[in-house]
Amino acid sequence: MHSNGFFLTDVAGFLGGYYAAIAAMNGVAAYILWRKKGQPGWAIVWTAVSVVMMVLASLALSGSAAWVPSLPASARGLVNSLSGPVLYTLGTVGLLTALFVFRRFFVQPMVAWTILNVMLVLMGLSMADENFASIVMKPDNVPIVGLVFLLAFFTWLATKQAVVNDDRIARGLPPMEKENDEKVLVWPDLVYTELICMVAVAAFLLIWAICLPAPLEEPASSVKTPNPSKAPWYFLGLQEMLVYFDPWYAGVVLPSLVIFGLMAMPYLDFNKKGNGYYSIAERKFSYLTFQFGFFVLWITLIILGTFLRGPNWNFFGPFEFWTPYKVEVLNNVDLPQMFWVGLLDKPLPRPPAGAGGLVQAGYILLREAPGLLLVGAYLVLLPPLLAVTIFRGFFAKMGFIRYMIMANLMLLMLTLPIKMILRWTFNLKYIISIPEISLNF
């Protein structure tokens, strides 16, 4: 869609308030740094940022295309042309890895505050783009924007405490949670905290409800399919998985395994350390496994499914117009096709006409032999192989059954990233494809 004056006039009020809020936030930070923390240098920096934000606020309030702060069209075009599912996924994985590896740097309050400011300003600049704003401001998408900022904040808060605890433990000290063993009475200390939280949440919810009307579209019609048709936002990670797997696996088996895996977690994690306090160093394996599942395979997929998947579930850059006419070439090939036709230059094995059920089954097994062997080796051979190599210690501590459940859950979880990579590199559609019994994997 091409920006016109009406859009900017509409969004100007919001953006004005938005930049003013960032200005206020930095003003408060500067005051606290100056009066309470004795860091006048940083106080001056954030005061300057606050002043810049006030300028941005007044520019935004003009509502004129020449003045509202926005990203240059060339930058938006570049982002659109570069972005795609591969870069998005690899980019988020790279970003999360960097945040984890250099966590000591990123948890410093001033670094985190700088990142928050950058995120907020980028968000504000992007909101001046009509295509970006129209997706982000859909009422049901607003909570997901909130989720992103909340997760960033709480991950920072937790990592900060974990870093302190890990340092203390390395020095032979107990975690800081243990230092403070003093007991207080529930009335008033806890009861008042609960009351204040309730009032704050109620106030927040009231303001949200007054400012943002709940969505209500046309009356339901079973003959008028919207494009794109999307599940509720918290299931969009599952819908995104449908790109790589059939619904029986992406929509039924994988979610069931997620629930089962979460329930099994306390019985699989034999590490007695890190019970009741923040720590990363003491439980690196469980930490990284959980974060990979939660962030990479759940949250980023929801963000992708919500903001970047448009009509026909095609990928759209953040500033791209969602046209239903975008055509994406789908030339994905099944593994049997690759093996028999591509590699051996033979036709796919087909049973002779009028063959009985057993003969047909035999031909299907032959046709799918490469995929069945691969998947079989992955699920049957890998666990014991891992048990005598990298998971030797785990196997010894967990025993056979617990180890096998852990290893299989782990391998099944990894089927998603493996299939993604195979799709991106080899255009692989299915590893096993038995349409005769609707079994595609």
Partner: protein
């Protein structure tokens, strides 16, 4: 002051509150022990266990949002009829005609917030390792509560009966069609035949069980309404009670053991 004193000394006040005002240490202990709503708490608690930077208060906020959803949900039920004829019109009227027109907003945004706070609560419990012994089973209950929260939100999503609702539920429930063996497009369903007759059809599979029909229609609306307003909230309430009780029994609010 004198009026306050008189009220607090009256027979009515004393019959309601079993304890004096919690102004001194003794009575602050007594109030927690003798008040129905407060007795869920212990009398005293480790100072670090209630630090906001440690707990994030997300479990408590989730419970509060559940209460908000219950109250606003009951009020919405006064105005809403789950039939094809009325569902959409009642929602329109809620927006345009009914006074206090933010009832549906409170309910919808509260629901989204509840999903988010449940995830954040789970995230915090994981990060502090609070699922480890002796709290394993309470984590399991928590996972079930998480699932029920999503189902509560999912069933509620259909009720406005607009395009957003019906198609989100159609997309979401289409997955059930592909359930292995039990969905009519799922792998292996062809194997379930007796005397050449398919046992699993589009009128007998898992999706049909969920929707009460071959597609999202009036039966689905009724089914989801009952699940949303009665069945799932009751299950959640029961599991919440166990969840809270186990927090106390498994060593109190989280902290290093």
């Amino acid at each position: 002051m004198a009026i306050g004193e008189t009220i607090r000394n009256s027979q009515i006040w004393k019959s309601i509150f079993r304890h004096p005002m919690p102004l001194d240490r003794r009575n602050r202990i007594v109030v927690v022990l003798t008040n129905f709503f407060l007795h869920l708490h212990p009398v005293s608690i480790k100072k670090q266990g209630i630090a906001l930077s440690f707990t994030w208060c997300m479990g408590g906020v989730t419970f509060f949002l559940f209460l908000v959803e219950t109250v606003t949900g009951v009020l919405l039920m006064f105005y809403y009829r789950p039939t094809l004829e009325w569902a959409y019109n009642d929602i329109l009227a809620l927006r345009d005609v009914t006074s206090l027109g933010i009832l549906r907003e409170l309910h919808r945004w509260g629901a989204h917030a509840m999903v988010i706070t449940t995830w954040l609560h789970m995230y915090r419990v994981f990060l502090t390792g609070s699922y480890k012994p002796p709290r394993e089973f309470n984590w399991v209950i928590g996972v079930i509560l998480l699932l029920l929260t999503l189902l509560l939100s999912f069933t509620g999503y259909l009720l406005p009966w607009d395009q957003l609702a019906i198609w989100a539920i159609t997309v979401g429930s289409n997955m059930a069609r592909a359930t292995p063996f039990l969905g009519y497009e799922g792998p292996g369903q062809q194997l379930l035949t007796i005397g050449g007759i398919d046992m699993i059809t589009d009128a007998s599979d898992a999706r049909f069980g969920l929707l009460g029909a071959r597609f999202v229609g009036e039966e689905t609306l009724n089914r989801f309404y009952v699940l949303h307003c009665i069945a799932i909230p009751l299950a959640v309430a029961l599991l919440l009670a166990i969840h809270f009780w186990r927090v106390r029994k498994d060593g109190g609010i989280s902290g290093p053991l």
